[in-house]
């Protein structure tokens, strides 16, 4: 098992390096918009765009051969020197560190809520298959799965912020993290994010639990005289938690990153999503790369955690095969 976990960790590192290398190649072969801009300005001011270009390249080390640039890039990346954000006039890592707490403020409660709700409702659905409660849960899941989150967010904002005035329309960064004002302004983001992420979790846990509701070993447990409640927790939920762990980390992470990107833009929360969006709009390449690498690395770590969780939870796993 130790060997297996070590192999997964190695793979995570290799994957990270590959991602970084690809990023380098993408950047290397893409025309630098800042350079084009500079040359354009130079040409308009009557200077020689060629010379400006050379100066720029020398300054940024772009006149070096590719392998030197590559090594330099990788060293910087690994040592967390992710470059300078031109538009924010601060190091990219500083900008990231400042933004992350705002993302976590609504993402963490939302992950907790959707995990509990998703698994709870899913188990209920599975054990009450084809009852009215199950149909209601299924309808709710389809609603959450299908509603475009950014659209739902603006509709909610207009209804509860604009028309009813229950929550503020503009996100206020000056309020204390633990304060009533902060709770009200995070209410809608948490709702939207939970709705989108709870749906797939619900469907998965229902399907997984259903596999086990009919399982022979559940009948064995019943024949032993185990109560329904204990059967649900000990004999259905516990084995279902193995595949669920996969979905929890794998799927949820994916959904949350995408959804939060749009949610932050809609609600004006200055987290990672907004940072990335601004960077794209303002053509701040270093910052764009930084804000995209964070979710990517988190996904890689998520996959790693999921693999390890699997080995801990499932005694049957065959290490040789993976």
């Amino acid at each position: 098992m130790a060997v297996y976990i070590l192999r997964r960790i190695t793979w995570a590192i290799v994957a990270s390096l590959i991602v970084l290398s690809l990023t380098f190649l993408l950047l290397y072969f893409t025309p630098d918009t800042q350079l084009t801009e500079l040359q354009f300005q130079a040409a308009q001011a009557g200077n020689d765009p060629e010379r400006v270009g050379e100066a720029y390249e020398r300054y940024h080390g772009l006149d070096q051969p590719i392998h030197v640039q590559y090594l330099e890039f990788m060293t910087n990346m690994v040592s967390l020197n992710w470059g300078w954000s031109e538009t924010r006039s601060q190091p990219v890592t500083t900008a990231l560190v400042e933004a992350i707490p705002y993302s976590m403020m609504y993402a963490v409660p939302s992950i907790l809520l959707s995990t509990i709700l998703g698994i709870g409702i899913g188990l209920y659905s599975a054990t009450h298959q084809y009852t009215r409660g199950d149909y209601a849960a299924t309808a709710f899941a389809f609603f959450g799965l299908s509603i475009p989150d950014f659209w739902f967010a603006i509709v909610l904002l207009v209804v509860f912020g604009g028309m009813l005035g229950w929550v503020p329309i503009l996100f206020d960064t000056s309020v204390a993290t633990v304060s009533y004002a902060n709770v009200t302004q995070l209410l809608l983001p948490v709702t939207v994010l939970t709705l989108t992420s709870v749906a797939s979790l619900m469907r998965y846990s229902r399907a997984e639990a259903l596999e086990y509701v009919e399982a022979a070993f559940v009948k064995t447990a019943k024949a032993k005289g185990v109560s329904d409640r204990r059967i649900l927790y000990r004999h259905i939920f516990r084995p279902a938690s193995v595949p669920l762990a996969t979905i929890l980390v794998g799927d949820l992470v994916g959904i949350i990153f995408v959804a939060s990107y749009l949610i932050e833009v809609v609600f004006g929360i200055p987290g990672l999503g907004t940072l990335s969006y601004r960077a794209i709009v303002n053509q701040d390449t270093a910052l764009v790369v930084g804000t995209v690498l964070v979710p990517t690395f988190l996904t890689i770590i998520g996959n790693l955690v999921q693999d390890i969780a699997y080995t801990v939870l499932d005694p049957r796993i065959d290490y040789g095969d993976r």
């Binding site: 009919e214 022979a216 070993f217 064995t220 005289g225």
Partner: protein, 350 residues
Amino acid sequence: MTQDDPLLTVENLHTSFHTDDGTVNAVDGVDFTVRRGETVCLVGESGSGKTVACESITQLFKRPPGEITAGSIVFDGIELTNCSERELTDIRGARISHVFQNPQNALNPVYTIGWQLLEAIELHQDVSRAAARAEAVELLDRVGISEASDRLEAYPHELSGGMKQRVMIAMALACQPDLLIADEPTTALDVTIQAQILRLLKDLQAEYGIGILFVTHDLGVVAEIADRVVVLYAGKVMERGTVYDVFETPCHPYTRALLDCLPGRGSLGGIPGSLPDPMAPPAGCRFHDRCPDAVPDCSTGDQPAFESVVGEDHEVSCLHYRTAAEPTVLESGVEPRRPSERTDGGDTHD
């Protein structure tokens, strides 16, 4: 209590499943009894309602869609059909326990054998952890698992099919039940293991005096283990009697057709034809479209009434049992319960 005291009396049992396509009357008016210390075999082709009949006793089948629509099940003076789910939970495993057909999935894959045995013990007995553990080791030992205390830490996937079935039996015996229901416990196992398990069951029965309701579609197994036999077809009882009577003087054409399928007997490919549609069983005798002895009367009215025939409590539901009855089995050399070493005849898996 005497040996003849009925431990379990099932009368006029009806169990139905309500599905999208219609209602399946899987068990359609079945009577039988099990006494202490005896083994009663339910036999019949796959799909004839044996499993449903067994699982009706402590209501293990899925509800809904399943439902006991009529009948009475009296266990040691308790009417089980009137019991609440709580009362049933207290009886299951403690007084009536089950062993299922396929040991492959019958144990929870994420818990150790020990965990699952301890659960069975601690659910119904107020004992300390250490005492329960000791008991678990003893149980495993008793069902013939070597190095029992090490095996407690094993996960189900680390055991063979036969081992798993032994664990299942150990679990079923954990609380010294009065009745053991074994639903094709050997069908999924290979022939040598099958013989060992049958022997184990017989020994345990002799030791604890439990009543066994044993389900099989294999008359070879019946001959080895049964005291009395109940032949089921399409949810109804066709014939019942002592194993000796049923094998010596089988009165029902269906019973005789089953006996013909024993190895070394005439018919090889099983009984021609198939079970009737469970949603719309035919009128008259349910066996009539496959019966070689059928006459026009067989396809009208209800299932023929039971009539007593030679032997002790030997009954048959057939219009023409008398003309059909011939002592065919004696000629073949298949003798019930003698010699008891008989282990062949186990390969008519379905």
